[in-house]
């Protein structure tokens, strides 16, 4: 799995972009998007997903269930 940003909720504040340890977040068409191929849900870096922790709008950075759960390399 990876995180995704609910575009209709995003204030485009960019706070998540700087916090992402995987540089997976970028601005597209006025809101921010997470590249699911790069997102590790912050596993291996932090206890909590940084985008979720810093986002000013609740339930805006959410798990995208269409992707398999990230597995840290053994």
């Amino acid at each position: 799995m990876a995180y995704k940003i609910v575009a209709s909720q995003c204030t485009s504040c960019s706070a998540c972009e700087a916090e992402c340890p995987n540089v997976a977040i970028s601005e597209k068409n006025g809101t921010f998007v997470i590249n699911p191929k790069k997102c590790t849900e912050c596993i291996g870096y932090f206890d909590v997903a940084q985008c979720v922790a810093v986002c000013p709008v609740e339930n805006t950075c959410v798990i995208d269930t269409s992707y398999p759960r990230y597995q840290a390399p053994a």
Binding site: T11, S12, A15
Partner: protein, 519 residues
Amino acid sequence: MNDLASLDAFQADKAEPIDNIMQQIAEHKGCGTSGGSGKASCGSSAGAGDMPPEIWEKVKNHPCYSEEAHHHYARMHVAVAPACNIQCNYCNRKYDCANESRPGVVSEKLTPEQAAKKVLAVASAIPQMTVLGIAGPGDPLANPGKTFKTFELIAEAAPDIKLCLSTNGLALPDHVETIKKFNVDHVTITINMTDPDVGAEIYPWVFWKHRRVTGKEAAKILTDRQLQGLEMLTANGILCKVNSVMIPGINDSHLVTVNREVKSRGAFLHNIMPLISAPEHGTVFGLNGQRGPSAQELKALQDSCEGEMNMMRHCRQCRADAVGLLGEDRSAEFTTDKIMEMDVSYDLASRQAYQEKVEEQRVAKVEARNEKLKELAGEESDIKILVAVATKGGGLINEHFGHAKEFQVYELSAGGAKFVGHRRVDLYCQGGYGEEDSLETIVRAINDCAAVFVAKIGHCPKEDLIKAGIEPVDQYAHEFIEQSAIAYFKDYLARVKTGEIEHVVRGDADIRQGAYAPV
């Protein structure tokens, strides 16, 4: 106007909280402490004679640090800092309306390069624009790369412009060295509490060391960082203003303690602002019905903190992309699209020439006031009254009653005329309000004033004001405010003495929430 009758009920509603604050004032007995750098003899409203020359040099053309300067000089904010590292219950980042004016609100964000071009464009069009601030819409120090890049570009292109920033303080201690390096000599920290129990009711969380921290723990981290940052700045000779939002029932009495704490750490100026909490803004406080203070509650708290500390009362709680004199917003003239098309040449010489003219007018204003003040000497009276003034700037009574978007409020006493606040009366963006109600809105906003000074006023509003007990005064049209106010007060005392009029203590007034319409 029948609606005016409802003012009695309105005043009765507000009576009790004032009593509470008066009680706190009595208990507090001034904010002076033995700590800190001694008496800062430089009231925000004071002029050159009242403060050390090096401080005067820093504030004399900074509208946000000098009440006196705000009549003459303009500022602008560039919205290069969208990210924030804390959440406040009075802020909702989702809400934006071009007609809305309050901190944290912005119509478009800029890159540092766009911001630098905007600054040059505005500086060329508004030669009295002397100050560039970064105030968000998030926290400048949560976006350090963008913030300091902007400062760097502006310092290169327009070295005469003063740089300042406004922060919640969480990241401040990490950036003091950089702030110093870029010659940012004015920093504002928003400090709403020094007690984590109080803070827990204002801040749901802070983002700290890669975690979202909540409750008292969050507030403790925030207050520690704010006070540490303040101490570091003042130790480095950087002028600090502290902003506090007055939230009745949550931190109103506590702000007296905050005032003492920040003064002892060398803050130059304390700005206590009323909470903005209209439900349509969708903030936590807006939605849970938390009210803001009345005009007299705010003034009472500001008065109680005045002691030895400078209080700012001319803050307009502007947008993070505001442009112009305080009280006006010309941001709509300088949108990114318009700026990118502009051919800007930065003419330092013509800016300086214009500012010299402003200085001349300013000196004339102060002389006129001092001259008039001599006539009050020897008057012994405990009478104090408030008067409202319609002004477009320059320290003059130069606005038509019907065109005024705000009134400046002066307190008149045997000691002279003192600026004590301003009241917004613009009706824009207030759904459901028509012309019919506009006079009632104005009366509510200046209901604590004995008179209103205008350049001109129509017959109808004149009569309605008299009915509401507010004397409309147009005889000082286009003259200096303070000089005229002192002359009026002298006459007022004389009329009270002869029994021509009776001095009555006026009631409370409303602080308007919501929007300034962009010009």
